[in-house]
């Protein structure tokens, strides 16, 4: 189902990369996006298969800050962000996904929001919980998780869809 609904970047687009290394020059996380291009190709073809196998187990695919500078400088218009997201998805299918993302999905299933309420500190050193500081500032309380059962069920099905 996932393959039918989400369209990833095409292999023709990715193969347009001629390794000019401009993306390496702008990456603030010090990644080597050209390696991700090889891994993408290796996910579909025997060529670079070992690069693919290594890269999706490597934590570097989760070190992208998603600043999208590489996308802007690419002379061949290869969206490296799309390549990296594809590899992150491949890693997820093998269970190689940082727990923190799964926790955010769980939070969303339980409260519609990715984050639970937390402590907020003021410049004077006062410590509040989210609810208290919202109330002090006259803001609406956090949304109530009404009718969440059906929403949760839909998210469960969508998780399976990929």
């Amino acid at each position: 189902m996932a393959a039918e609904t989400i369209s990833w970047i095409s292999v023709e687009t990715v193969r347009a990369c001629y390794t000019c290394f401009k993306c390496i020059g702008v990456c603030p996380a010090g990644l080597k996006p050209n390696l991700f291009v090889k891994a993408y190709i290796g996910s579909m073809f025997r060529e670079f298969r070992e690069v693919y196998e290594e890269v999706i187990k490597d934590s570097s695919i989760w070190m992208c800050a998603r600043c999208l500078k590489c996308v802007e400088v690419c002379p061949q218009k290869v969206s490296l962000n799309d390549v990296i997201e594809y590899l992150q998805h491949e890693a997820t299918k093998r269970g190689l996904v940082p727990q923190v993302y799964l926790t955010m999905v769980e939070n969303t299933m339980n409260s519609y929001l990715a984050f639970a309420s937390q402590t907020i500190v003021s410049r004077d050193g006062d410590i509040y919980m989210t609810e208290d500081v919202r109330s002090l500032l006259g803001l609406d309380p956090l949304p109530e998780p009404q009718n969440i059962e059906k929403f949760r069920e839909r998210l469960r099905l969508l998780k399976e869809a990929g």
Partner: protein
């Protein structure tokens, strides 16, 4: 009167509440009617590659549930949400199969995507909808006109250029025009379009802090008295975590950081409390004598 539907995003709701408090206070002054919906959900940004279908449904659900025929658009306060909403519109328009997929889930809860709302960024709101002339009019003097302010748009307000935004993705200027209209100076600097690192907070916090350090220390060395942003995540990295970031590299907090809506609020004479300035953790006290109207 312009009417907009407010979408704060999760992080503003639970952590960066000053983003919400300051825009609510400021927009009352400008006669903008904000509709604050009670039924919202996460936009799916953080886990978009992990569960892409789920993430697209979440964004589609927002487009459907926040749609209001009387409203001029959805005001998205967070850059991540702003990108997700615009990107989802782009994808659903281009790809009928994805659109039908999302609609099939939405129909189960009585929602649909019949009309596509306009997605508005806070900078766009001040520059294009409220307008530079109106902002110039509120700047009645008293502040130090030699104060030089650095702008920080944040990556997802501008990039990728394949999805149209409110400004030039490689050389934006609208926030600069707002700063100048308020009576302050601004100038370009090498780190202007650099990333705050926030996306990495989840998977690699130390690299996130390193990127924030590069941005903060790089900006500070050009002599700016203040850095201004609108995004709650950028604000988290550049303001809330500034002390921790600087300490990690043996340095100290040195760059006052404010939200654009806090700066505008102070210019129209709002109190520090009504723009939640007590929640800024960077050394903003240093710059207050230069920007407060006397």
């Amino acid at each position: 009167m312009v009417r907009l539907t407010l979408f704060t995003g999760c992080f503003t709701l639970v952590k960066q509440v000053a983003v919400e408090a300051s825009i609510l206070s400021v927009l009352k002054y400008f006669n903008i009617e904000l509709v604050v919906p009670r039924s919202v959900n996460c936009c799916g940004f953080a886990f978009r590659s992990v569960y892409p279908s789920l993430s697209l449904y979440l964004t589609g659900r927002l487009l459907a549930s926040l749609y209001d025929a009387e409203s001029s658009g959805i005001l998205a306060l967070c850059n991540g949400c702003y990108l997700m909403l615009r990107e989802a519109i782009h994808r659903l328009r281009e790809n009928p199969r994805q659109l039908e997929f999302v609609r099939s889930y939405l129909r189960e809860e009585g929602l649909d995507l019949r009309s596509i709302p306009r997605i508005v960024h806070p900078i766009e709101l001040f520059h294009d909808m409220i307008g530079i002339e109106v902002l110039r009019g509120i700047s009645r003097g008293g502040q130090d006109r030699n104060t030089v302010i650095a702008t920080h748009y944040g990556c997802h307000a501008l990039r990728p250029s394949t999805i149209p935004s409110f400004d030039n993705p490689l050389n934006p200027s609208k926030m600069e025009r707002i700063i100048e209209a308020l009576g302050f100076r601004t100038r370009d600097y090498p780190e202007r379009l650099d990333c705050c690192g926030a996306v990495l907070l989840a998977s690699n916090p130390s690299l996130a802090m390193k990127m924030a350090y590069s941005k903060i220390s790089g900006t500070a060395r050009w002599g700016f008295q203040l850095l201004v942003t609108t995004c709650p995540y950028c604000f988290e990295m550049l303001d809330s975590r500034q002390e921790a970031v600087m300490q990690m590299f043996g340095d100290e907090p040195k760059l006052p950081v404010m939200l654009l809506t806090q700066l505008i609020g102070l210019q129209i004479g709002l109190s520090e409390g009504s723009v939640a300035l007590n929640l800024n953790l960077s050394p903003v006290d240093r710059v207050l004598p230069y920007i407060l109207r006397r």
